[in-house]
């Protein structure tokens, strides 16, 4: 087994707001191998973005990493100096954000913004950076790359801007690409193109991807491993085949049932009743208790651990502890 590129151990990121402490990420652990693609799925507010920003070291006040480790090639990023962290960011670990429309600075040209990374991390001259930037723009399928290089972001469509973001993120050949819902804001047709592009470009360099998404269709198509998050915790963690074949957590099942499938035409899509509880509001028992159809008395009192069912399948649910006992 290859050594993990990224290993997260019991990560805790809390926000200290006026209304008290919000444990947005509460003991998350997972690991990612070189070249592996992992997906983090879960509804809005489950802590996916906070997890990725914690890895990048971009959690700002009032948020703080309260505990745990983020090991990248064996080094703990949570205790790394700001200076070393900056050398890593944009170079070894790059990130693409959800909002292509607002993620580029409106006052600088596309070229300026791509070159900036290249010049910074690869110590390239202005001309070298320009050549590399245009090459990257061509790679991400932008027509008339030279022209786009010197234009301002507002002239580009959302899809084009996301391509620019990808070009920027991949310009320094990162070892890890974190993509936080990179296609949510785009048209369906463009979504597929962008994801395909990401996949192709990262395959070239064996880049690992951490893909945050709502879309289980995307998960099925392009990832190796899946983490299901709920209310700041990992509730199920397994490879993509097992997830679709044998989902164990009632929440995962709910998510799968609420995704349309061609071969099982149903009259109506299922949905999970209710919404993710605000972090910190459920202090006792399982975080999913309020929405779980199979909750028992125990679920309201004691919180389940993330339990290993097999070597590549973990789940946080009392049902499966009992199952094992029963067997």
């Amino acid at each position: 087994m290859a050594e993990a590129l990224l290993e997260i151990k019991d990560l805790k990121t809390y926000f200290h707001t006026e209304n008290g402490v919000v444990p947005s990420v509460d003991g998350v652990s997972f690991s990612l191998k070189k070249g592996e693609t992992i997906a983090i799925v879960g509804e809005s507010g489950s802590g996916k973005s906070v997890t990725s920003l914690s890895i990048m070291g971009l959690i700002g006040s009032p948020g703080k990493i309260e505990g745990g480790e983020v090991l990248f090639e064996g080094q703990d990023l949570t205790t790394m100096s700001k200076r070393n962290m900056r050398k890593l960011r944009g170079n070894d670990i790059a990130m693409i954000f959800q909002e292509p429309l607002t993620s580029l600075n409106p006052l600088f040209t596309v070229g300026n913004q791509i070159s900036e990374s290249i010049r910074l991390h690869q110590k390239a001259s202005k001309e070298e950076a320009k050549i590399k930037s245009i090459e990257m723009l061509k790679k991400v399928g932008i027509p008339r790359a030279e022209k786009v290089y010197s234009s301002y972001p507002h002239l580009l469509s959302g899809g084009m801007r996301q391509r620019v973001m990808i070009a920027m993120a991949l310009s320094c050949n990162p070892k890890l690409l974190i993509a936080d819902e990179p296609t949510t804001a785009l048209d369906v047709t463009i979504q597929a193109q962008i994801l395909q592009l990401m996949k192709n470009l990262t395959n070239e360099n064996d880049t690992s991807i951490m893909l945050i998404t709502h879309d289980l269709g995307v998960v099925a198509e392009m990832v190796d491993t899946v983490i299901v998050m709920y209310a700041g915790q990992v509730v199920e963690y397994t490879d993509v085949f097992t997830l679709f074949k044998e989902p164990k957590h009632p929440y995962t099942k709910g998510l799968l049932d609420s995704t349309p499938k061609i071969h099982e035409l149903k009259d109506e899509l299922q949905s999970i009743e209710g919404t993710v509880p605000a972090p910190g509001t459920i202090t006792q028992g399982c975080k999913f208790q309020t929405r779980c159809t199979r909750a028992t008395a125990k679920c309201f009192v004691e919180e389940p651990e993330l339990k290993e069912l097999s070597s590549n399948h973990k789940v946080r649910c009392w049902l499966h502890e009992q199952e094992e006992v029963a067997i």
């Binding site: 990048m56 971009l58 900056r86 050398k87 890593l88 960011r89 944009g90 170079n91 790059a94 990130m95 954000f97 909002e99 607002t102 993620s103 580029l104 600075n105 409106p106 006052l107 600088f108 900036e116 990374s117 910074l120 991390h121 301002y152 507002h154 973001m165 920027m168």
Partner: protein, 304 residues
């Protein structure tokens, strides 16, 4: 850009037209300078004669027509006090005022930009609270009071700078500080709040995610964006600055336009009043135009 400039310059004409009308009306309503021009024991006949000769007995529209006729030749009439054409007198004072205004602007910029940026990046730190509190306090302080305090401290007690008048650089220091710190107080607040908003934008997060040093994130990516509203609002406040100039010039006996205008108002020297207000208005408009140009240079999203 060229087309935009021409359009904006053409827009100045109707604005000046309106201003000249308003100035005329104010002077018309403000009333009769004749009483002040003649000795107290002048006979009613003398008064009547002077009024007649000045055209003050004509109806409103005739007087306005005469006034506009003069205006087109840049003739604001003769000053009662100086006995010569008003405009040259006003223009002679202009360099002093421009000097003071420029020096104050430099003082304001030198204080406000670093302080505003720094207080935004260190939000809620003791230093930010000091800067924010200080600027509120400074804004509340009237120009004349600040000016007098500075004179008392630095001229009377310490003797570092002259009390009043215009001459070498040392004369400029206190008036420029009085006016400049006042502008800086408001500008600091603006820059701070604008920076705070910009620092929360997605593209700032993007910049940070690239590993760029905080210094460049703040000063390259954020500051330029933050400057856009600051330029606009500062331009809109030119009129407040003009008010400050009038007071500062009076306090420091700075021989500028403001001092001239206030004297002219006190002596009802209407030709001077009209000419100075017109020139001041012209500069306010010019400042706004300049702000528009800067704005467009800063923001590529704006089309000309």
């Amino acid at each position: 850009m060229g087309k935009f400039l021409i359009r904006r310059l053409l827009q100045i004409i109707p604005v000046l037209f309106i201003i000249s009308f308003v100035v005329f009306c104010l002077v018309f309503v403000a009333g009769d300078p004749v009483a002040l021009m003649l000795p107290e024991d002048a006979s009613p006949e003398d008064i009547e004669q002077l009024r007649e000769s000045l055209g003050l007995n004509e109806p409103f529209h005739i007087q306005y027509f005469t006034y506009m006729l003069g205006l087109f030749q840049l003739d604001f009439g003769e000053s009662f006090r100086y006995g010569q054409s008003a405009l040259p007198i006003v223009l002679e004072r202009l360099p002093a005022t421009l000097e003071l205004a420029a020096a104050s602007m430099i003082v304001a910029i030198v204080i406000a930009i670093p302080l505003g940026i720094w207080s935004a990046t260190k939000k809620n730190s003791p230093l930010d609270l000091l800067a924010t509190g200080g600027s509120v306090l400074w804004k509340a302080m009237p120009n004349f009071w600040l000016g007098i305090m500075l004179i008392l401290l630095f001229s009377v007690t310490l003797g570092w700078f002259p009390v009043s008048g215009r001459g070498n650089f040392s004369h400029l220091v206190l008036p420029a500080l009085t006016l400049g710190t006042g502008i800086a107080a408001e500008m600091t607040r603006l820059i701070r709040s604008s920076m705070l908003e910009i620092l929360n934008q997605d593209y700032i997060r993007t910049a940070k995610s690239k590993g760029i040093r905080d210094f460049y994130v703040v000063n390259k990516h954020a500051f330029r964006n933050a400057l856009i509203p600051v330029v606009t609002i500062t331009a809109l406040q030119t009129s407040t600055v003009v008010g400050g100039t009038l007071i500062t010039e009076t306090v420091f006996s700075w021989p500028g336009l403001g001092q001239l205008l206030i004297q002219a108002v006190n002596t009802r020297d209407m030709a001077i009043v009209q000419a100075s207000v017109f020139i001041i208005a012209f500069f306010v408009i010019l400042m706004n135009l300049l702000a528009d140009i800067i704005y467009k240079l800063l923001d590529p999203r704006i089309k000309y």
